[in-house]
């Protein structure tokens, strides 16, 4: 078992690599942002046409392959899946849209805080509220039913697709789209990005690090183990930003951020609730998908499709603020998620039993 010290250290490595990646070219406070990486990869594949956020980020392939290699080495790779795949796909898409209304996944939220971006404070509040809503349903028996052991090839497809994408990026980059301006054009050297991905992927596989899991377990079981990862990320990224003079306290003029408090909050409520329902934050699902869990692979596909919709239909926020489409999807998405959570908990069971007369 990994102790609290190990978890803080693992978080610290993520925090350190984020600052290093930012220093060597990744966008500010975005050294390590899973939602942003997925969104950029989606753009590189031409699934959306937002020209400023298109790049097949090697960190992403590194994360999946790092988790894959670690899981294989430790004999923990197993093809599993079949637990409400389409609900997971759909929740993945909503999770991404929520993240893009705030402009960051939970990991970037911590990194933004560590960079002095105070807009991440209401987001953190929203994340906690979303998780608390999820816990309300968990305590009332919410689950998406069990998964199953699947044919062994099933689990290999996702990691192999990541290997293929990495191969294309290195050997046939002409097949992919590369941003010429904006965040997508800001990139750390390929080898550095890839190695950072592999290291964090392997580490996250061992520690089961999860940003949502940290808050959830602290609320639910008073168990702070996973939360230590979160704290490690924050402290080291903060120290790194201060040391490199990248710390800039305030609300206005923060990199790739907007100042609309309500929508920073609401975007992360969506992320928090969907993450509890899915059993993990975007980082965790990449890792699980690398371990052969195809429910998580489908969740990642949902993230990509969500990113594509978010940019094709102007749901993603920009530094100018949230869009009307984004606001509508966040509100309607909340209602749909509450419905799914309710219908798959004991609350709905008891209603049905009460209403239906037997005989």
């Amino acid at each position: 078992m990994i102790g609290k010290k190990g978890m803080i250290m693992a978080g610290g490595v993520v925090g350190l690599l984020s600052v290093v990646l930012g220093y060597f070219g990744n966008p500010a406070n975005m050294g390590y942002c899973i939602a942003c990486f997925v969104r950029d990869v989606t753009g590189a594949l031409g699934m959306h046409r937002a020209e400023v956020v298109q790049y097949a980020r090697p960190e992403l392939m590194g994360l999946v392959l790092g988790a894959f290699i670690m899981a294989k080495t430790k004999n923990e790779f197993a093809s599993k899946g079949g637990s409400a795949p389409f609900i997971r796909f759909f929740l993945g898409a909503l999770m991404m849209i929520g993240a893009l209304v705030f402009l960051g996944c939970p990991l970037r939220m911590v990194l933004r805080l560590a960079g002095g971006d105070l807009n991440a404070l209401p987001a953190a509040g929203g994340f906690a509220v979303g998780i608390a809503i999820g816990i309300f349903f968990l305590n009332r028996g919410f689950n998406l039913k069990r998964n199953y052991t699947l044919v062994s090839t099933e689990g290999y497809i996702f990691p192999m697709l990541n290997l293929l994408l990495l191969f294309i990026l290195v050997v046939f980059p002409g097949l992919l789209i590369f941003s010429e301006a904006g965040p997508g054009s800001m990139r750390a050297p390929l080898v550095l990005s890839l190695i950072s991905g592999l290291v964090v992927g392997g580490m996250a596989q061992r520690t089961r690090m999860c940003t949502m899991g940290g808050v959830r377990d602290a609320f639910l079981f008073r168990d702070n183990l996973l939360l230590m990862g979160f704290i490690g990320i924050f402290l080291i990224a903060l120290a790194g930003n201060l040391a490199l003079g990248q710390f800039n306290l305030g609300f206005a003029g923060q990199p790739v951020a907007h100042t609309e408090t309500l929508w920073n909050f609401m975007g992360m409520v969506v992320v928090g609730l969907s993450a509890v329902m899915l059993g993990g934050c975007p980082l965790r699902h990449l890792i699980l998908a690398g371990e052969g869990n195809t429910d998580s692979a489908i969740t990642v596909m949902g993230l990509m499709v969500g990113a594509a919709f978010a940019h094709n239909m102007s749901l993603a926020s920009s530094p100018a603020g949230a869009t009307s489409g984004g606001k509508i999807v966040v509100m309607v998405g909340m209602l749909i998620m509450l419905g799914i959570a309710y219908l798959n908990s004991e609350l709905a069971d008891s209603k049905v039993k009460g209403d239906v007369k037997v005989g």
Partner: protein, 69 residues
């Protein structure tokens, strides 16, 4: 004998299901899981709830057989 079937579920569900079963204070209960993380977490929970646990492996399934001390 109380049986909790938490196979195919990942944490926290196995713990929550075990917790619910333990609230009725049964003298013995069996929790079946199919992954190491769930096994470790449920084991920790049962031990802290005052049960002595023995573990039986049955193919992919892991049975935690718990008895009151």
């Amino acid at each position: 004998m109380v049986n909790v079937d938490a196979r195919g579920l990942s944490c926290p569900q196995p713990i929550l299901m075990t917790k619910k079963a333990v609230e009725k204070k049964p003298e013995s209960l069996t929790v079946t899981v199919d992954n190491e993380t769930a096994k470790n977490n449920v084991l920790r929970f049962l031990n802290s709830s005052g049960y002595t646990v023995s573990i039986v492996e049955d193919g992919e399934d892991l049975q935690l057989i718990a008895k009151t001390n």
